[in-house]
């Protein structure tokens, strides 16, 4: 077991060595890491609670106070501290984005593998569903869904509704990607070999297909996260967020509703916009670089001596 652990560490060290060379990847990782750290340490980063109302000497709410007058990013129309909203909003945005992203990834991978591996009727069914989901415009569909579910007053947290709706509608691209990759892996000789020694479907999927797909799934998840965060922001901006737990999208929604722009309160609407950009850019950079690096078609190339062969990962694939 410890040897297994060593191997893992060796791989990780090798991975880090290549990753370190990649400026874009490092930048993406930095952006994401900062956002995650802010979310985790939110209470330590601000003295105010987002719902606190800041008052001036006369005990009047300090509205639309610019940063020069109050705190780091001033206050909003009701006198709430914008910085603390931003910091705590990161928690909501990231949690919704991450959870929705993970659901999408999970559903997409499972269905993609099933479609690619089993083929036939299962494949047709799953692919028809993705076709339908792909042609229906996402945002209006989600608006309708979220609004309808909210109408039903099911006592589900509005955030949970958002997470589930985004997660269950955003798996199609993952499913297609995973399916096509599964199709090629399935045809590879080591899968035929596994069948020839008598292995069943579950064994083959778990031991032979999934490990090859893993890097792709990881990279794809990071990319999906950025989409999920953007979608969450979009829906929240349109007023479908949870007003009691404002995310960045909700902040933007408030800012626009309450004439932040006409008041020239840039500190109210710019920061959440930049934060959204920050995280999604980070995810996209990171995801693309990971995808490039963890290319699943790892093929050993040339052999050099017995002390340890030099493997060159190349993109050779059997047609």
């Amino acid at each position: 077991m410890s040897e297994n652990g060593n191997l893992f560490l060796r791989n990780l060290a090798g991975f880090w060595k290549t990753f370190r060379q990649n400026k874009l990847g490092l930048a993406g990782g930095f952006l994401v890491l900062v956002a995650v750290l802010v979310a985790v340490f939110a209470p330590a980063l601000t003295d105010y609670d987002p719902s606190d109302i800041i008052r001036d000497a006369n005990n009047r709410a300090l509205t639309f106070a610019p940063p020069e007058v109050h705190g780091i990013l001033g206050t909003d129309d009701a006198g709430h501290d914008v910085w603390s909203q931003l910091v705590f909003g990161s928690r909501i945005s990231l949690v919704v984005g991450f959870m929705a992203g993970f659901i999408a990834m999970f559903v997409g991978s499972a269905l993609g593998i099933a479609a690619g591996y089993f083929g036939g009727a299962i494949d047709s069914l799953i692919m028809r569903i993705t076709d339908v989901l792909l042609v229906i415009p996402d945002l209006p569909l989600m608006l309708v869904l979220v609004a309808t579910i909210r109408q039903m007053e099911l006592k589900i947290s509005p955030l949970a509704v958002l997470i589930v709706v985004i997660g269950l509608l955003y798996w199609t691209s993952t499913a297609r990607l995973i399916r096509s990759q599964t199709l090629t892996i399935k045809e590879r000789q080591f899968v035929a070999r596994a069948r020839a020694i008598g292995a069943g479907h579950w064994h083959i999927i778990r031991k032979h297909i999934l490990p090859q797909l893993m890097p792709l799934i990881v990279a794809n998840t990071v990319l999906i996260l950025s989409t999920a965060i953007l979608i969450e922001s979009g829906l929240a901006f349109l007023g479908l967020g949870d007003p009691t737990k404002p995310s960045w999208g909700t902040m933007l929604n408030f800012a626009f509703d309450r004439s932040a722009i006409s008041n020239g309160a840039w500190w109210f609407y710019l920061p959440p916009g930049i934060a959204i950009l920050w995280v999604s850019l980070g995810c996209i950079l990171l995801g693309n670089v990971l995808e490039e690096m963890l290319n699943p078609r790892l093929a050993a190339h040339h052999l050099e001596g017995e002390a340890g062969m030099i493997a060159i990962a190349d993109v050779e694939s059997k047609g």
Partner: protein, 335 residues
């Protein structure tokens, strides 16, 4: 000695349906098939090595895959150790899983047949896991170790935690062989096990297979397009052309006294590593015809250097020329 043949194949057919263009199916043209294996019969005694040779596309791999159940057969019977494979009849029969415990296959490409993300230990132990055998951890390690040892990977422990990409082509093919041998199979189906390897490594692997056979007495179906390797270790040779066996017989007999014109051509083009022995070659022109529309009569006639008129009409069957030596050619008759 057990007299039941290890393997008996009777009238085996394997057709792959061709995807039909929409226009064709609208016009109700008949569905066509790739006739990859077209009426093949042979048997393999215990401890025997049968080589199946022929050009690319003649159906060698298809036979191998059908034997181990990776392809469903279209027609015919496969009898393993006296039991019909995968049949639900009254006769004694054997299921695929059971068959795959007792018969193993080695694939052509050592770079492709190992899961790149599994360690050598996992790969060699996999058949044991799949069949739920030797559950005891210590015994399992011992079994894997002895399989690697037998395959010439010593000291075996050094390989346990390695990944396939850290091994050379020859070492990988040894791993494949070790994992095929770990269940102590009775039958080994080897699909071009050395054709992707360098000449010097090729010899090692051939020697290894020969040793294993001598030590364990396993039967081997050895598939190749290279007659030189066949000469080296087969007991019998079956020559295939376009899904059919055109000649079958004891190895020496077939190589030194070939009867079928196709066998003669194949032997004549096998390179001989001696420039003083450059021989007259019979180089068949063109490629093997497409197995969708087989030529009429003898399927070899469009390329046969000695074809006569009747070859276009009559489809020759295998006839026994000498003890155990059969050929399917209208011009060849019992001497």
């Amino acid at each position: 000695m057990n007299q039941t043949p290890m393997l008996e194949v009777r009238g085996l057919y394997k057709y792959f349906p061709v995807h039909q263009a929409l226009a064709d199916s609208l016009m109700r043209r008949p569905h066509s098939n790739v006739k990859a294996v077209d009426d093949v019969s042979f048997s393999l005694a215990r401890g025997e090595v049968l080589a199946v040779v022929g050009e690319s596309g003649c159906g060698k791999t298809t036979i191998a895959r059908t034997l181990i159940g990776l392809e469903a057969l279209t027609k015919g019977e496969i009898v393993f150790d006296g039991k019909l494979v995968n049949a639900h009849s009254q006769q004694p029969h054997i299921g695929l899983k059971q068959l795959r415990k007792r018969a193993q296959m080695i694939f052509q490409d050592p770079y492709e047949s190992l899961n790149p993300r599994a360690t050598i230990f996992e790969i060699v132990a996999e058949p044991l896991v799949v069949h739920g055998m030797i559950k005891d951890r210590k015994e399992r390690v011992a079994a894997v170790k002895s399989a690697l040892d037998d395959a010439g990977l010593r000291p075996a422990e050094d390989y346990f935690m390695r990944y396939p990409h850290e091994l050379s082509g020859g070492q990988r093919q040894r791993v494949v062989i070790a994992s095929a041998m770990v269940l102590q199979p009775e039958l080994l189906i080897a699909d071009e096990p050395v054709s992707m390897l360098d000449v010097s490594i090729r010899a090692e692997i051939l020697n290894l297979l020969r040793d294993l056979r001598q030590k364990r007495g396993i039967s081997i179906v050895f598939i190749t397009h290279d007659l030189s390797t066949v000469a080296y270790f087969a007991d019998r040779i079956a020559v295939m052309y376009l899904g059919r066996m055109v000649e079958i017989g004891p190895a020496r007999e077939v190589l030194q006294n070939p009867q079928h014109p196709y066998t003669k051509a194949l032997i004549s083009v096998a390179p001989v590593p001696n420039p003083r022995l450059r021989r007259e070659r019979v180089i068949l022109q063109g490629e093997t015809p497409n197995p969708i529309n087989l030529p009429s009569g003898c399927r070899f006639h469009p390329r046969c250097p000695v074809a006569v008129d009747m070859c276009k009409e009559n489809d020759p069957q295998l006839i026994e020329l000498k003890q155990g030596h059969q050929a399917a050619c209208l011009l060849v008759t019992k001497s």
